[in-house]
């Protein structure tokens, strides 16, 4: 019997395991499906990681390595090349790997940190032929950075998610011609710094309010047709532009990978597509926690780390001190807010303050983030700019709530 099994050894899992160790747990297992720890960071060879957490600029593999080294100084057991197939509500973890075989391990607590996957062509039903040369940006990133092979020479990118932007630069540096980045929304889905450093610095045009309306080519992509869209995101006839290219990269969104979570009967939040969690990242199943991109999609690994440390500490507390007390006060998303994490807060367990993470659903200039409890405004946070592409977070002092409200609401008010 383990005290804690962590499913997934990416940045979330590593940070959670380290924190649980630091909080006094000793019998911890991380299960990682790849041959080494680090998760998606291993293929993110660009810099920009760690600015918040380490106060210095690291590449993805460097960031992962820091945590792998911290882990190696603990007694945390790591099983790589091993895939978790099932987690039961009573915390039995089914796993399989060539080294250790098919095993079922029991645990007093479980942390789910499986990350996310990319949306595909099929998910957004792009019409056209079905040639080779259509890749999700992450798959292309793996080919280039891990396998050392170029998946194309003349590239159009659909979607302005961060991986797509990063790949625009990466493919360009490797000698490909990136013809355009096409975004269906009137604003970019990625970080501003990536728009500047990956598109503008390389003169790659960004077409906002445009989408791909046809793919042509029999064996390999030969052309991609791009059309402008109206306010309801329907293509406008007559605005077609044809790009001669051999590759279409898709960076059209990330989806938390929650097959295990759902099979374990854990309550899900359709807005985040992750588990609904309490302030300490505990799910609806006691002793099972979720953190990182499996809970909600992050932009910056630094926030993944911090969130996962909270989950790790909470798992340790659960095992060493018993279940958290209190009933959860629901946190609702109001005007301008797409979702909140956590979805519920147990005030007795929150300490002095609790963090709320969320995304806004459109671009805002000067605005206030307002927290309302029991119908009363309890605090406001000023922002100069809010964008759906950048995750927001606020820290709400518990004492301002004045007791336990029925619900807490977070919304945006334009200044």
């Amino acid at each position: 019997m383990y005290d804690l099994i962590v499913v997934g050894g990416g940045p979330a899992g590593m940070a959670a395991a380290c924190a649980a160790w630091d909080a006094g747990l000793r019998n911890i297992l991380i299960v990682e499906r790849d041959r080494e720890l680090g998760g998606i960071l291993n293929q993110c060879i660009h810099n920009g990681f760690g600015l918040t957490y380490f106060k210095e600029e690291l590449t993805g593999p460097e960031y992962a390595h820091r945590f792998a080294r911290l882990l190696s100084e603990t007694g945390v057991e790591v099983r790589t090349d091993t895939m978790v197939l099932d987690v039961t509500p009573d915390r039995r973890v089914h796993m399989t790997g060539p080294e250790t075989g098919y095993r079922i391990e029991e645990a007093r607590s479980v942390i789910l940190s499986m990350g996310c996957r990319e949306r595909t062509r099929g998910a957004i039903a792009i019409p056209g032929t079905r040639p080779a040369g259509i890749y999700t940006a992450g798959a292309a990133q793996r080919y280039v950075n891990v396998e050392g092979w170029m998946p194309g020479k003349r590239v159009v990118i659909l979607g302005s998610g961060d991986i797509g932007l990063i790949m625009a630069r990466r493919m360009t540096l490797e000698g490909a011609k990136v013809l355009a980045c096409v975004e269906v929304m009137p604003y970019s889905g990625g970080l501003t710094r990536n728009i500047v450093q990956c598109l503008e610095d390389f003169d790659i045009p960004l077409y906002l309010s445009h989408t791909v309306t046809d793919i042509r080519g029999r064996d390999r992509v030969e052309q991609v047709v791009v059309s402008q869209v109206d306010a309801r995101r329907n293509p406008i006839p007559g605005t077609e532009m044809v790009f001669d290219c051999d590759t279409l990269l898709l960076s059209v969104g990330l989806i938390p990978e929650n097959e295990l979570t759902e099979r374990a009967g854990i309550e899900m939040d359709p807005r985040t597509k992750g588990a609904a969690v309490y302030e300490n990242m505990e799910t609806s199943v006691p002793g099972v926690f979720a953190c990182g991109n499996v809970a909600h999609v992050h932009d910056l690994v630094d926030f993944v780390t911090k969130e996962s440390q909270r989950a790790g500490t909470a798992a340790a507390k659960y095992v060493l001190e018993g279940p958290a007390e209190g009933k959860g006060v629901p946190i609702k998303n109001g005007d301008g807010v797409s979702y909140t994490v956590p979805q519920r807060v147990r005030l007795q367990n929150a300490g002095d303050a609790f963090s709320v993470f969320f995304r806004v659903n459109r671009i805002y200039g000067k605005a206030e983030i307002v927290v309302e409890a029991g119908g009363r405004e309890v605090c406001r946070f000023k922002r100069d700019r809010l964008s759906p592409g950048e995750m927001e977070n606020i820290s709400v002092p518990v004492k301002l709530l004045g007791g336990e409200p029925e619900e807490i609401r977070v919304f945006v008010r334009e200044a």
Partner: protein
Amino acid sequence: MVDVAVVGCGVIGAAAAMELARYEVSVAVLERENDVAVGTTKANSAILHAGYDPKPGTLMARLNVRGAALAKEYCEKLDVPYKQCGSLVVAFSEKDEETLRELYGRGVKNGVEGLEIISGDEARRREPELAGTVRAALWAPSAAIVSPWEMCLAFAETAVKNGAELRLNTAVTGLSRGDGFWTVHTDKGYIQARYVINAAGVDSDTVHDMAAPHSFEVKPSRGEYYLLDKSEGTRVNSVIFQCPSEKGKGVLVSPTVHGNLIVGPNAEGSDRHDLATTAGGLEFVKETARLSVPGVDFSKSIRNFAGVRANTGFDDFRIGFAAPGFLDLAGICSPGLTSAPAIAEYAAELLRGAGLELRRKDEFVFFRRRLRFKELSQEEREDLVAMYPEYGRVICRCETVTEGEILACLRTPIPPVSVDGVKRRVNAGMGRCQGGFCAPRVVEILSRELGITPGEVVQDRAGMRLLFNETKGGGENV
């Protein structure tokens, strides 16, 4: 010289080759592509029809009903995913109800068992997701769903195991008649055969014209589909058809044997090799499907595709000798997949009638098993991985496909040479991430096992290159 050359290895060619492999005759199958099952066989509704659609007395009616029964038996013997889930044709109007009665009558005449016309309420009791506007339905318990490409693969593998020769990447370019035999010219030289079977699918008219006077033309009709995530896979329990029209059997909503939901097709005239989906076509499929099953959640789409029906504008299959020793199995439109085993049986009969001696082989290996890790019990998994560690490594996480299964399919009688070839055999890449995670790993395995560079690995057909060149540092240096 072989006894029989079969042109095309879709499900019809494969079934014919397997049927002939029961006998002491030599068979060569010529397939243009680098794998079997890659034409219409892989892109259709994946339904084994009960047999109430074809007009009584037609060859199609007889072969459909016989084919459905044979397919059930063959799928069991050859380990092809198959499920007899039954089908409903739903009626929205008085006119539709008339159609149901007509289909019922045809079905009874065709020998389809268990047909029943039920009320709208009874239909909704069986299928709670059916629209309130459904007034009545025709229930056909013998209809089934199947993995069409695996059915074809199983037939082709069985043919090869029993001595048939399969020549892939071999396109037939012409036919010439010798003294009691045909010379089949291909882009890889020629082969002589006493009999030729034309199973060339949407190109069966082209092949026909190489041997006989022009007598029909394939008028391709393209059908577009949605394939939805497994979370939608239980939306319906059986195949839900709408009433057929001149254009075809209409838009259906059906579970698949892989646990997904399939929705489609439309029917649009097209170029015979045009497999593009269109915004209009997909929208039509979506809207039409909602008439019968309004709750289908299309945001759960994981893939769209299109297939081409080999229609000839003729109410029946075009099966028969077009020239001495030249047998057309042409114009195989729907229900061609269902009919395939019966078409093959009938083809053997016709060849026998034309003088081919068919003596049963003493030993015909009619058995095939595939190991699917996902379907094993816990104990079986433990034992398997302990013995063969490669079955412990999961390559495709959406479908839980292990490296062991991929390595095993590379050792079958028709090993895959492409990423999609692997997918057709073991389901890797068929899930919700559509190969986003496993494709690079499958490329790596294919490259290693076939002794080629990753740049030489193709997506599907020859020419469908995935990777262009090594990065500046190259794969060795990263």
